[in-house]
Symmetry: C3
Subunit: 344 residues, 3 copies
């Protein structure tokens, strides 16, 4: 339990209303009651905010809400992250290696590591201080996991994978699987050995069942602070980030370079061997088939400037009418020509 | 072995031909022989049905097939389900907890549960009567699995996940992974704790390697009787169903609401925070970027009314010709204007 | 260490430059130093090749590079595969069954098999000579794995799955999960039992977290020498290949037939029940909604002939201009008509 005024102090927000209001927890606009704080960080939910029974609302500046207890923050979504941490402190696995885990004799382990039951860790692998390896995870030989990195249950790291510090790898993730490389000769596909590795820099998060393939030679590298959602596919030799955001089911084909702070929305794709600049945005479902300069915002298949795409799509939906108009013009013109005795 | 007439009685169908025909099993049109029953439930396979060596065919009313032994059912695909159950009774794992499974001391278990080897079940989790937890599955603490729910091998449930009765969760499924939420400030992405849960109501099926993320706060909820295919992504805070159908590789972004009996075809997507009505259909590959009323049937990127999309696509394929036509008209018009001495 | 001339002899290539050059390894153009061989197999990297510090370069005929040590091969990508094998001989798991694996009593095993810890193998399953079952994999009852087939850690084979010889199944793959089949009656979806199987012919590779569903009846069959990338979805009853190539996140819906040497690029899809010929190419992101003849090369949603699609897309991006042109023509024509006193 916190008083509203206390919360304001903790997160550097301003109270409008009763700073002595007792807040027992956080809840969604629909679920919150008088002892709970809810939030309005997306204008789409304004009506739901007005109708909410929440005792108080976290909002941004200029929300225009009145007659309510408000916690007004400069960056309300960031403030929400802080409040969630306050009310829901992370529960971490206690240090200890399960007797049901199997570590090779020469695994190097730091202090306070946790290894769950049925985890398997290969030869010469190094686990930094505070590393957590969830139940059933398999970490191949010659891997490195930086301090405080956590593998949730049933992640797989192929041999040689390197993961930085404070990374979070969700269940079902596969890092370091073979890149997709085959030399086709006489209708048969011969495997091209994939002898590179995957490197994740510090503070990377990888969502459930996402796959990142090892490079054929050298590295597939995910830059510092990049956050990747579920079921994303990163092919061999890709270089991404730092601080990239990849939403669910996005994909990047082999050897593409994607710059800093890139955003790939859901189900988007980037073709192989491309160079994409910093701060680019690829809209949901878009497919990038050509290099992009810094700051590009693209949509469509093939991807083009987002505003151009929007205008083009507006016409696309009305193409039958456009064609009808053209046919009408043609008929009128023909009629006119005939009236004038024009030779066609 | 059943006589054709017996089968008709069991499924409420009508025999045309020999009710005394001995049917030893079911097979596809191409594989079936004289002792087997095959089926024609999709008109696309009519020629294959006519050429089939099957002893008898399950068909709908008015199939127009003649000179064959037929089992005529009002709902032939439903009848096929019943016949498959009859000829292939489900083989279920016998009750028992493997000595190689690891259950926390305070797991509450109903009667006749089965837990396979190398499964791990966390503190305070409750398993209803007849629950099956396949080999290598990991069920976190504070989960609940309703009676007769089955986890196939290597499913993962994060802590706090609730699964109803008679659900079927296939291998590689991850329920309750962290939602994808980050507050970006000064070019860095700070994790927004995801402290909600995933709730599956009764009779839900989830296909292999599909992921359903936990809500940031509150629930991600999959309604009763919904059936989800493989490699589908359901983001945090989604509410879906009841009785929704999601085909392979579909995705629903965060906080979207999708109504009852919705159909999302393969590789389709729904953007975040949308409200989609009941009985909607989203065609394969479509991307829904706006709310949809009940009964909408949409296609395209962005999704639009399906018939409009079809007409627009027909023109799209012929756009080069349309442009040529417009250029021709322009040329003629210019010529006409010149002939008439028109000032432009 | 090899001399450049030796390497040429091994792979049937020609040396331009110093055959006595000592090559210690292979590296990418950016990473290679004077003791390393790099390669130029994609013209996109020509400048990087010119700038590379590599001691020698593997190239195709007519590369036009000069003043460098070159290894000139007729099929340079194939030569690269051979060189990678030479410098990086495969490390395979030593024969032996982990005491932490659980095999049913009646599993039939060939010579020199390897089974990792926490693997589970069901009744009556047969493992050919040299089979490798990685840690944590689950192989159901009545499966067959041909000689030298390898399952990487944490693959799952449902009961009855048959895998040919020399197949490579990556981590997280699920073979034989239930096909997605439901008979809908009165708004409820009744499961149609899926009692068929998955068959992989010889020399098939399946990428991480890909799923191949069992047929409702009969087989889902992946033809000999087919290579499938990560996160691909193959639905029930599909027949594919031989020698098909499916890139990441592609999907094939139920009962589709896809011919020999088909290429499905990334994130492409094929609708159910279609017949696609041999040697077809489906471009990235395309969706095939109709049968395709041998040799078709298609793009777009819905997929059409690739060249037609390219021309149509070029116009799509300029649709707003086209519409403006049409409006201008209409205005001019109207003006002309008025000048001529034409009744509209």
């Amino acid at each position: 339990m916190f008083l509203l005024g206390e919360l304001a102090g903790r997160i550097g927000a301003e109270v409008q209303g009763d700073p002595g209001l007792r807040i027992e927890g956080l809840a969604t606009l629909g679920d919150a009651g008088p002892a709970q704080l809810s939030f309005l960080t997306n204008p789409r939910y304004r009506k739901a905010a007005e109708a909410s029974d929440a005792g108080a609302l976290l909002v941004g500046q200029g929300s225009g809400l009145s007659g309510r207890n408000l916690l007004i923050a400069a960056e309300p979504y960031l403030a929400l992250a802080e409040l969630l941490e306050l009310f829901h402190p992370a529960v971490t696995a206690p240090p200890g290696v399960s007797p049901d885990a199997r570590l090779a004799d020469d695994v190097e382990t730091g202090r306070d590591i946790h290894v769950g039951p049925f985890a398997v860790i290969g030869e010469r692998t190094k686990l930094g201080d505070g590393v957590i390896v969830g139940a059933g995870s398999v970490v191949g030989r010659d891997c490195e996991l930086g301090e405080k990195t956590e593998l949730k249950p049933r992640a797989v790291l192929y041999p040689g994978t390197r993961v930085g510090r404070r990374c979070l790898i969700h269940s079902g993730v596969v890092l370091g699987g073979d890149g997709y490389g085959f030399a086709t000769t006489k209708g048969e596909h011969r495997k091209v050995p994939q002898v590179g590795r995957v490197v994740l820099e510090d503070d990377v998060e990888i969502g459930a069942n996402t796959t990142v393939d090892r490079a054929m030679l050298g590295e597939t590298r995910i830059g510092r602070g990049s956050k990747i959602d579920n079921l994303v596919m990163i092919a061999h030799g890709v270089r991404l980030g730092p601080a990239a955001l990849l939403a669910g089911q996005a994909g990047i084909a082999g050897s593409a370079r994607v710059g800093a702070r890139a955003t790939l929305a859901g189900q988007s794709g980037v073709a192989g061997h491309l160079d994409l600049g910093d701060d680019i945005i690829v809209a949901a479902k878009a497919a990038v088939f050509a290099d992009l300069p810094d700051g590009a915002f693209v949509s469509g298949i093939p991807a083009m400037d987002h505003r151009r795409w929007k205008r083009a799509q507006a016409v696309t939906a009305r193409l039958p009418e456009l064609r009808k108009e053209v046919r009408k013009l043609r008929a009128k013109l023909t009629e006119l020509e005939q009236r004038l005795g024009a030779e066609d």
